[in-house]
């Protein structure tokens, strides 16, 4: 069913996994949108007006109304465009998906990020925490193709950093965190995720992302 004139605008930053979550959600739903790349050292008036509290990307502006915070945006997209749902209908499974999505965000991303950027002193502890986080995800993915089951869902979208960014960053940092030897099931998921026909269109090109992060290492 064609909606009335829909205006969907998305303010983002291409190397950011948070921004990418929104891009994934929009592409998975087949939503047409206008994209604006933000320069965070020179924030646009539009960004400052639409996210005055945090002044951060991503921001989705739907028919003139702004929404901020990547996972809030993803849930909004899921509730507004009903095809290809990211969440199952059963309340318990929804609660479970939200739980895992939050866990990825709060417990997995920070130590994984720190493991790559920490100095020598903090590196060991960060790597240890990162490995614990990956172990938790390894147990959760089990034999499922995606966290969402047969297709990509909310948790897969939340875990895009684990599914794509980690591989690139660990190569730059010379670390072996997510490997097929250490976490076979999670590794397999990351391959499924990054080669998914729609997801792969939404992910930034590997060499571009590699070059971006490489230029930021000391």
């Amino acid at each position: 069913m064609a909606a009335k004139e829909e205006q969907v605008k998305f303010l983002g930053k291409w190397p950011s996994p948070f921004s990418n979550r929104v891009e994934l959600a929009l592409k998975l739903k087949g939503i047409k949108y206008d994209y604006s790349e933000e320069d965070l050292s020179n924030k646009s008036q539009e960004l400052l007006t639409s996210n005055p509290v945090h002044k951060k990307v991503p921001v989705l502006i739907h028919n003139g109304r702004p929404i901020s915070e990547s996972l809030v945006i993803v849930e909004y997209i899921d509730e507004t465009w009903k095809s290809n749902p990211f969440l199952p209908p059963n309340p318990y499974h929804r609660a479970s998906a939200r739980f895992w999505s939050k866990l990825v965000d709060e417990k997995c991303l920070p130590p994984l990020w720190d493991a790559f950027w920490c100095d020598e002193k903090g590196r060991e502890k960060a790597v240890e925490e990162a490995m614990e986080a990956l172990k938790i995800l390894e147990n959760e993915i089990g034999d499922k193709r995606f966290f969402g089951g047969d297709d990509v869902g909310l948790v897969d979208i939340s875990a895009n950093f684990v599914g794509y960014w980690v591989d690139i960053l660990q190569e730059i940092a010379g670390l072996q965190l997510l490997t097929s030897e250490k976490f076979p099931k999670l590794y397999k998921w990351s391959q499924e995720f990054s080669t998914h026909p729609i997801v792969k269109q939404a992910l930034p090109p590997r060499d571009k992302l590699f070059a971006f992060f490489k230029s930021r290492t000391g």
Partner: protein
């Protein structure tokens, strides 16, 4: 067995604002539940089994299925007990606004409030108090925009954002008395001051909102325990 017939247990502790959230939600739905109080300093076997990843309260156990994370539990209760009044707004945009502010409170505002007790020196304390005050100014503005003249963020009734924010009122009062400064009051935040009174008097909230005196005593106990560790 229908969802409404399954036994509901809630693992929690009376001083926790996060535990208060599902309790208010269950009260709104007139859902009966068994409250299993965890003791400070130790975690029950049931807690460790039902929330093995975080080992934290609250945990709702519905039938035999555990649901963790306070706001996730609130959304679950809203969905499952569908015959009671709605807690989340019905419009997706309004829901996104409510979720945005709840995330702000949990990620930025409450951690600042918690940090005040352990602030090292005047400078740090002052910065945190300022952050708290600025946050309340944001919430005052949000309250006016969202409630549109009605008593609650949720409109005529207590809703998701009322629950997400209101649960912190007890600890806010304790903090105010600790720093000797009122942050949420008639002068600074008139809308919120009225909202806070109405919220605390609500039938779903009153039975589970702890008295500020009791919380202060508990805070002292907690600080002594932390100091001795």
């Amino acid at each position: 067995m229908s969802e409404g017939e399954k036994v509901v247990k809630l693992l929690g502790a009376w001083p926790s604002p996060f535990v208060m959230r599902p309790r208010i939600a269950l009260n709104i739905k007139s859902a009966s539940y068994e409250f299993l109080e965890e003791t400070l300093g130790s975690k029950s076997q049931l807690l460790l089994q039902s929330n093995p990843v975080h080992k934290k309260i609250p945990v709702l156990i519905h039938g035999d299925k555990p649901v963790c994370e306070s706001l996730i539990i609130v959304e679950y209760v809203d969905q499952v007990f569908s015959s009671g009044p709605s807690i989340l707004p019905s419009d997706p945009y309004d829901r996104s606004v409510a979720r945005f502010w709840a995330a702000y409170l949990d990620d930025k505002w409450f951690p600042a409030m918690k940090a005040i007790a352990g602030a090292k020196g005047d400078e740090e304390g002052k910065a945190l108090i300022q952050q708290l005050g600025e946050g309340l100014a944001l919430m005052e503005s949000a309250y006016h925009n969202i409630s549109k003249g009605k008593p609650f963020f949720g409109g005529d009734r207590v809703g998701y954002l009322d629950i997400a924010f209101g649960c912190f009122l007890g600890w806010l009062r304790v903090t105010e008395s600790h720093i000797g400064l009122k942050l949420l009051d008639q002068t600074k935040t008139p809308g919120l001051a009225q909202w806070a009174e109405t919220f605390c008097a609500d039938d779903a909230v009153k039975p589970v909102m702890p008295e500020t005196d009791k919380l202060s005593e508990f805070a002292k106990l907690l600080m002594a325990k932390t100091a001795s560790n």
